[in-house]
Symmetry: C2
Subunit: 435 residues, 2 copies
């Protein structure tokens, strides 16, 4: 019997306590109570959370140790275990991040646009919370606090559905969060863990249309695809990054090498790292040898087209022949696909065909090429003479980030607090009617 079915076995058929739908219903009620609260009330809850995380560190670390032991026993790679691990120092760092969110501007109540209409009606479009935000994520327990705090700051109730490998940690963290929220006078149900560890609980969450306002999946491509395909709750697609660096025919070679290596190797496991490099034929003879040397030094394996394989042979560097699978793959490792293209437009065509729409960079000293690349590439972010690694809420100065949207509706790119809101129109008259 799985843990999930044990969970559903304790669901009370009358109160629906323990069911995902019941959880969502309570979240909707909490959201209604949160929406009209002023900033001070929400910030007060966040400060209470920061204090409680520090005060109850032992409890959190003990719960986490159980997850870590289970992960080690299951033979999970040490890098993943490290991402799962909470130490007192890490808990303190999480609490400190919470205090930084308190200091961010309040998105709720911002007047996005407004005017007095010719008939005297006063029109205001005002930011309001979305309502109930569901987050489905993997591994890292710090996301539990992070997501909850950003949702509360923006006036939303949150439903957290973390990885089963972090279930004990998340349970402990959410207990601390709920106590702190309640102590600050806000409804505890503004923060809830989705009950159950099986895929069924995610399915139930995806069908809670009318109770959950948006679902944000954060994690691997398979998770995101499943949520996008099956959810009747609106979804914000995040994260997958098959990012490209295009080295134009008129690029400074040193700059190009530096941007390429930084885009690929500065932190290969994240979504804004580069997965493919495209090089204009005019510059290939000069650039490929230097790029191969620098990539090899950085520990990167090149999966190249014929031109790259030939250049590799000349330099004594092994280049793996690339297939269509390489153009398509988000390696998230020290691998890069590489091709030579006859023109900027050919680079754009390659990108349009294979990109996940995250981030593409051009390296060029030619203003016309930069302008054309920016206008033709249809991705979340286009970098001109800068590393793909800059697509990030922190780097963009948003102060916080709930994820990076790769879709076009609602939010595109790093999502800060404003992206966790909707708007409503408030129209004030003095007995106005239509003719």
């Amino acid at each position: 019997m799985s843990r999930a079915s044990q969970t559903s076995a304790v669901t009370d058929p009358v109160t629906d306590a323990g069911s995902v739908t019941g959880t969502a219903r309570r979240a909707k009620e909490a959201a209604a109570a949160l929406a009209p609260l002023p900033r001070t009330a929400r910030d007060g809850a966040l400060l209470a959370i920061a204090d409680a995380l520090v005060a109850r560190t032992d409890e959190i670390v003990t719960a986490n140790a159980a997850d870590v032991a289970k992960a080690r026993a299951a033979g999970i790679p040490e890098s993943t275990v490290d991402r799962l691990t909470l130490t007192p120092e890490r808990v303190a760092a999480i609490a400190s991040d919470v205090r930084e969110v308190v200091a961010l501007p309040d998105p709720v109540g911002e007047v996005v646009r407004g005017s007095t209409l010719p008939n005297g009606l006063e029109l205001r479009q005002v930011r309001v919370p979305l309502g109930v935000v569901g987050i489905v994520y993997e591994a890292r327990p710090n996301v539990t606090v992070d997501a909850a705090v950003l949702c509360l700051k923006s006036g939303n109730a949150v439903l957290l559905r973390g990885s089963s490998s972090a279930y004990a940690s998340n349970t402990a963290l959410v207990a601390v969060l709920r106590d702190a929220v309640a102590a600050a006078g806000l409804p505890a149900d503004a923060v809830q863990l989705v009950p159950g560890e099986s895929r069924d609980s995610v399915k139930e969450l995806m069908r809670a249309r009318g109770l959950v306002d948006v679902l944000i999946p954060r994690g691997g491509a398979a998770l995101i695809r499943a949520v996008v395909e099956e959810s009747t709750v609106p979804v914000i697609e995040t994260g997958t990054g098959n990012c490209h660096v295009y080295v134009d025919g008129r690029a400074d070679l040193d700059t190009a090498v530096e941007i390429l290596v930084n885009s690929k190797a500065q932190r290969p496991s994240v979504c804004n790292s580069a997965e493919t490099v495209l090089v204009h034929a005019d510059i290939a003879d000069a650039f490929l040898p230097r790029a191969l040397t620098a990539l090899t030094e950085a520990g990167v394996t090149v999966h190249g087209d014929e031109a790259w394989v030939r250049a590799g042979a000349a330099e004594g560097v092994k280049v793996v022949p690339a297939t269509d699978e390489d153009w398509e793959t988000e390696y998230l490792s020290y691998d890069i696909a590489a091709a030579v293209v006859p023109s900027l437009d050919a680079a754009v065509a390659h990108i349009r065909r294979w990109t996940s729409g995250h981030t593409e960079a051009i390296v060029t000293s030619d203003t016309a090429a930069a302008r054309r690349f920016v206008s033709l590439v249809d991705s979340t972010a286009v970098m001109v003479n800068a590393s793909t690694r800059f697509t990030d809420g922190g780097q963009f100065g948003f102060g916080a980030e709930i994820g990076i949207s790769t879709q076009k509706l609602h939010a595109r790119g790093p999502m800060g607090l404003p992206e966790l809101t909707s708007t409503k129109y408030v129209v004030t008259g003095e007995g106005h009617v239509r003719d």
Copy 2:
């Protein structure tokens, strides 16, 4: 054999001409060609459309006459036939509306936000077209031109899936639009009619994820629900309006009667007309008799709770006893549900339970009540001392409207040209890499 299966029988398996997917693929190519075009090119195409509609009026009216004859033969109500009918005058009016769209500000290229980051990177968030917009709509052929023109103005390719009852009219109109677009030097495939008249073609459209960027259903609640439930393409939900007027305990009676009657009866068939009136108990004795008289004079049937039924009996006006179905129904007719509530909060609770989230109005002279109602009601638009009928892109001064979104993501309320765009981040450096 249905017309739809005839259509799919002529689908060429290699070119996929005639299939919905093939149409969507060509739309995506057209969108890529449209995106980098400057305003003058798009406006030129719109002017060419306006001219062509006038020049080819005969052709359009002749095709429309066939639809009208078919509708009459099928015994369709004369009011629906009227909505279907195109006369030379109506075609001229449509062409004139197109010229007004030309004059609207260009949303594409607008810098939504921008800054220079501490490291010197220049960050700009720029409006870009969504790409391919699918519109599924009913009856009126003027929507064909309207939707196409708003999409082109905002740099999008459009897939039009109108009602089968307007198939001949839409075919003629789209032929005119495509010729004009091509004559102006833009790709004709920026405007396409979705082939096939059966529900299957809508289903195929809803599954064209990756080709179609957004689907906007415009029409009855059943159509919208089906699209929302089944589509893997992102949807913007429009239109359903179960709107409320709340008459507070401190309301001017004349103002309240005028706003109520205008909200209900000025044009009952549209989504922003009121379907329920809620009256504070403190004012019920004074208000109900006056409201009943005014509503009856306007030809409105009241479906009321006990208090309203009693008031009706006293006034000699027949009030139909209301059931839960009445609170839920979008009548779109000369009917209104009516209840007396003990408090503003009870009115809000009723609204939160039954509303479709379109528009709610409060009539009050009490600033605290107005403020509380605005903050607690979670709908697209909240009117203070104004008719619900003002929720409209034209009334709001947007100059055009593709529909009224009742969802929270991306766009909420009347959608003008900016709501038909997404954004991308353009980040410009001089060799910037991350540490």
